[in-house]
């Protein structure tokens, strides 16, 4: 009991940390009645563990509750809070202000996505292209009917695709992609990496139909291996690798 008391005393007497303030610049834009976006600046306190999302929520709570931002899990799992932070696509909940090394943090909506309002963007096209590549196992039988009850895989077979199964559909890769910057019809790195995820799955039998979907003029051939998608992925999916391996199937390097 005495020990607990001394720890409590120490916590009271020790300052939690030296709090500092940063300037948070938030892009404001409402397509319904604004011609262009403008920035609003807020001075918000931050600790070394404060994330960009927490700073935005601080602004909503104490300065301007009308700032539109999409978020949910706060732990880089739901993929909702993707935005451009100091020029690069990042997850707001996964980016600590202290690691940006700047007293000014600028947040903008993700590029290559239509803006709903302020920092919230539309994900329809991302989900459409994701759905287009048939993101599920294709085979005639099911695990329910199979005698073995489940489709067994060796650890080596799992390694072939598990990295790409980490995709949380946050859209950061599509935002960073230089082809997406100009081509509205491009399938995009997210969907292409997911196509590889299922093609590489030993349980899947839909390789030919998927390769046919992506083998088109605005499909996989529009990727020029700039690799920006992989650099911004917050889950280590490495879409650039998946796309090149997928292209290997089409070029006959893989079977």
């Amino acid at each position: 009991m005495a020990q607990v008391s001394s720890i409590a005393d120490e916590q009271i007497s020790t300052p939690v940390s030296s709090s500092k303030s940063i300037t948070l610049r938030i892009a404001r834009y409402n397509p319904e009645h604004d011609d262009s976006s403008m920035f609003m600046e807020f001075t918000v306190p931050c600790e070394k563990w404060t994330t960009v999302l927490e700073a935005i929520l601080e602004v909503k709570k104490y300065f301007d509750h009308s700032v539109a931002v999409r978020y949910s899990c706060r732990q880089a799992t739901c993929g909702s809070c993707g935005m451009i932070i100091n020029g690069k696509p990042r997850l707001a909940c996964f980016t600590k202000i202290s690691e940006l090394n700047s007293d000014v943090v600028t947040v903008e909506p993700m590029n290559n996505f239509p803006i709903i309002r302020d920092l919230a963007v539309k994900f329809e096209r991302l989900f459409d292209t994701h759905q287009k590549i048939k993101p599920y196992l294709i085979r005639d039988d099911t695990e329910i009917e199979s005698d073995e009850k489940e489709f067994l895989q060796s650890p080596k077979e799992v390694e072939q695709y598990i990295q790409f199964a980490n995709c949380i559909k946050c859209g950061l890769c599509n935002s960073a992609c230089p082809t997406m910057a100009t081509d509205s019809s491009f399938v995009g790195p997210q969907a292409l990496a997911q196509a590889y995820r299922y093609v590489a799955d030993s349980r899947d039998k839909g390789k030919d139909s998927r390769l046919k979907i992506i083998d088109e003029s605005h499909g996989i051939w529009r990727c020029h291996f700039a690799g920006s998608c992989s650099q911004v992925c917050p889950k280590g999916v490495d879409p650039a690798m998946g796309i090149q391996l997928l292209r290997g199937y089409l070029l006959g390097f893989r079977s």
Binding site: A176, M180, A181, T182, G227, K235, D238, A240, M241, F253
Partner: protein
Amino acid sequence: MTQDEHKEGIGGMFNPTRYGIERVAYWLMRLSGLGLLAYFIAHIYETSNILRGQVGWDEMMQMTQTLEGHIILAIVIGMCVFHTVNGVRVMLGYGGIGVGKPARPDYPYEPASQNYRHKIGIYSSIVLAAAAMMYGLAVMFGE
């Protein structure tokens, strides 16, 4: 490019400052490709001057012997070497060669496809292009 789509556009596509040397290589590859296409068209025009006879041909050759002509040719040499060497790297990557193997990712999630082999390929392309340009300039201005 409407505000509705919120596309980054050409400016965003060519911005080489945010995503490392791979994005710079992408930018240089596209630029050198367009430059070589322009040179190819100009080269057809240049060589077609032979139809104007000896005088027309000599006039055209005279244009390439100027300071501007030498600089343009040096840039063409650089574009040609970079596009060739980096093109080999990109083609190997297109086949899935040298892009790493899929594996369970560990934080901080360094992308395996952006590995040292590709970085060496990019830097080699730039160094070889610069060396070829310098050699070209030395030959042209050394005459």
